[in-house]
């Protein structure tokens, strides 16, 4: 028995040999390769947009208008109307969709989440995130534009419909992370449910909600399809978002992309760079909010 203790059976802990090792390595390299395959187009796109857009972008490009005819070179005039339109329409969509989305998430999480209706709403907000953006455009065209005409507001309605389920879902996730002890503590001192939700639960989840909303705005700012049939695409600035056709950076890119003129294409690249910068800034802002103001995370 003593001999057995002195000489324990040796366990071979080295990496297995032969095909088992080879296949394992191949699998690992295939995973790394799949990541590289994704980086290539991303770098390619970003490089092209920056290389072609940077020479076009200037302060006057971003502010001056009206948008010059396609035949003129990109150095003349600018896309001021489109920048104004994008800001107006996205802001209006945000004002509509974010509060409603957060309230919807509050219903799901604080009131009816366990019941049949709550489950139904939760399930269909997931389904609604999959509705194609062009269908939202057609929807707003059918119920709004046919009766009241093209306007920035119609575009904002379409973008809002796209943002709503995204905001509901991201806010719901964040509200779920707020510990129940906070709610129970507030109930114990006699607060009503609405007061607990607004003064305790929401502030606790605010960082995550804001960050989710910023990401939704970043996606919405680049959407084209819902705007095509709701705002039209015009060359002049329209500061009145509630009436008359408008324009936006993405619709301008869409119109210019198929033009044979170098100037029109140049303006499209400039607009693309502007859009990407806007989206990245919002995304980074969301990261900063997440890092600095989120109290509870997974």
């Amino acid at each position: 028995m003593a001999a057995a203790l002195e000489q324990p059976q040796k366990l071979d802990l080295r990496e297995p040999k032969g095909w088992r090792r080879t296949s394992n390595r191949i699998a690992t390299w295939l995973m790394v390769l799949s990541f590289i395959l994704v980086i290539i187009p991303l770098v390619f796109v970003l490089f092209t947009v920056v290389a072609k857009g940077i020479s076009v972008i200037s302060w006057s490009f971003l502010t001056s208008g009206p948008i010059p005819p396609n035949v003129l070179p990109a150095s003349v005039g600018g896309l001021g109307p489109a920048v104004l339109g994008t800001i107006e329409i996205t802001a209006l969509a945000t004002i509509m969709a974010v509060p409603l989305g957060v309230l919807g998430a509050i219903y799901l999480n604080e009131y009816g989440g366990k019941g049949f209706l709550g489950k139904l709403i939760g399930f269909f907000s997931d389904v609604m995130t999959g509705v194609p953006s062009i269908v939202m455009g057609l929807f707003i065209f059918s119920i709004w534009v046919l009766h009241f005409g093209f306007s920035g507001f119609a575009g904002a309605l379409a973008l809002g419909c796209l943002m709503l389920p995204v905001v509901i879902r991201s806010s719901d996730e964040m509200l779920k992370l707020v510990p129940d002890s906070l709610r129970e503590g507030s109930y114990a001192v006699g607060a009503t449910k609405a007061r607990v939700t607004v003064t305790v639960v929401l502030p606790a989840a605010l960082g995550g909600i804001v960050s989710g909303a910023l990401l939704a705005v970043a996606r919405a700012a680049g959407e084209t399809a819902p705007l095509l049939f709701t705002i039209l695409t015009v060359a002049t600035a329209n500061p009145n978002v509630f009436s008359g056709p408008n324009t936006s950076l993405p619709s301008q890119i869409f119109v210019n992309a198929t033009q044979p003129y170098v100037g029109a294409q140049g303006r499209a690249w400039g607009a693309a760079l502007t859009l990407i910068v806007i989206a990245f800034v919002l995304m980074i802002a969301a990261r900063i909010v997440t890092a600095r103001f989120t109290r509870y995370s997974r």
């Binding site: 699998a27 990541f35 219903y107 139904l120 269909f124 194609p132 709503l164 389920p165 995304m283």
Partner: protein
């Protein structure tokens, strides 16, 4: 008796039925407002179905089942949409075939291979891909990527010319703006969503299964096949379906790079058209039955994506529930 109970001064009003029955007006209003916002989702979905179907009814009532023929000629008032349905299917299947292996590969890389410290930057990169707007993919696709691809298509086309099947799929005529180009661009665009959904699914594999497989001496590949795959199969199928739904509805990038040619052909390098693309490209000049037909395509698209989403969410939810139950 109830009158007597109310009149009894010893019992404060309402106290017998508990505090919750006597909620202040503001509290109840807040609940109703929240409920209303939640119901908005259902209301919007119903409104989408009703209002777009109404606009599309002219198309369906005028042409009946002929809406599903391969005959699209707005100038001659022919509105058979089969070519667009075909194009939507072909491009999204190409996108899925390319995006799914890559997405699952990245999801496995993130969850099973790299340490947490490295997985964060990889996730950021994938998120960047998701933030590039559709129209920017389209702009790059039509002005840079398609001309470049056409050289490759031409080479492949002349190489497989005359070979059965391959020649029919990849042979000439070729065009930079084609089914295949649209499929590739769609693949780039759906990779982030399929990756993040598969990653969530794979992350639910119990650590005890993974550790058990390793403890039995499995290599990483064997562990993935034996522990990760059986557990996350269903959820990955669900995320693939959600990716398919996205690819089918993706409009602007496809509208720019697909070539806008209503034809049904086996040649993947030939120009084609898809449902969302034709809506985006032709809606501006449409009126009457033409417009009704385009909105009708939107209704079809809505119905298809809703069905796919219902199935996919069902699968994902079920696999998530099984995970929690286990």
């Amino acid at each position: 008796m109830s009158i007597a109970a109310k009149a009894d001064p010893a019992i404060p009003a309402g106290s017998a039925t508990g505090l919750s029955e006597r909620r202040p007006l503001g509290d109840r209003t807040f609940q109703i407002v929240a409920l209303g916002s939640g119901l908005l989702v259902l209301v919007i979905l119903v409104l989408i179905a009703v209002s777009t179907s109404q606009q599309a009814s002219l198309w369906f009532s005028t042409y009946g089942w002929k809406v599903f023929t391969n005959d699209w000629d707005p100038a001659a008032n022919h509105f058979g949409a089969l070519a667009f349905i075909y194009g939507t299917l072909v491009t999204s299947v190409i996108a899925i075939i390319m995006a799914v292996p890559v997405s699952v590969g990245i999801a496995l890389l993130l969850t099973q291979v790299v340490p947490y410290r490295w997985s964060r930057p990889i996730v950021y990169v994938i998120d960047l891909l998701a933030v590039v707007p559709s129209v920017v993919w389209g702009l790059w696709g039509i002005l840079v990527f398609a001309p470049w691809l056409n050289h490759i298509y031409a080479n492949i086309g002349s190489a497989v010319k005359g070979i059965p099947i391959l020649g029919n799929l990849f042979g000439p005529p070729t065009s930079g703006a084609s089914f295949f180009t649209a499929g590739v661009i769609l693949a780039f665009m759906i990779t982030p969503i399929v990756t993040s959904l598969s990653r969530e699914v794979i992350a639910t594999v119990p650590a005890i299964d993974i550790e058990g497989a390793y403890a039995l001496g499995a290599t990483r590949l064997e562990m993935i096949r034996g522990a990760v795959w059986p557990h996350s199969q269903g959820g990955i199928v669900g995320s693939v379906l959600l990716g398919l739904g996205r690819a089918m509805g993706e409009t602007i990038a496809a509208a720019l790079v697909i070539g806008s040619s209503a034809q049904i052909t086996s040649h993947l390098f030939a120009p084609g058209d898809s449902m969302p693309a034709v809506i985006a490209n032709q809606f501006g000049e449409a009126s009457g039955v033409f417009r009704s037909a385009l909105i009708g395509l939107g209704v079809l698209l809505f119905a298809i994506t809703i069905i796919i989403n219902l199935i996919a969410r069902g699968i994902v939810d079920r696999s998530a529930r099984r995970k929690r139950g286990a």
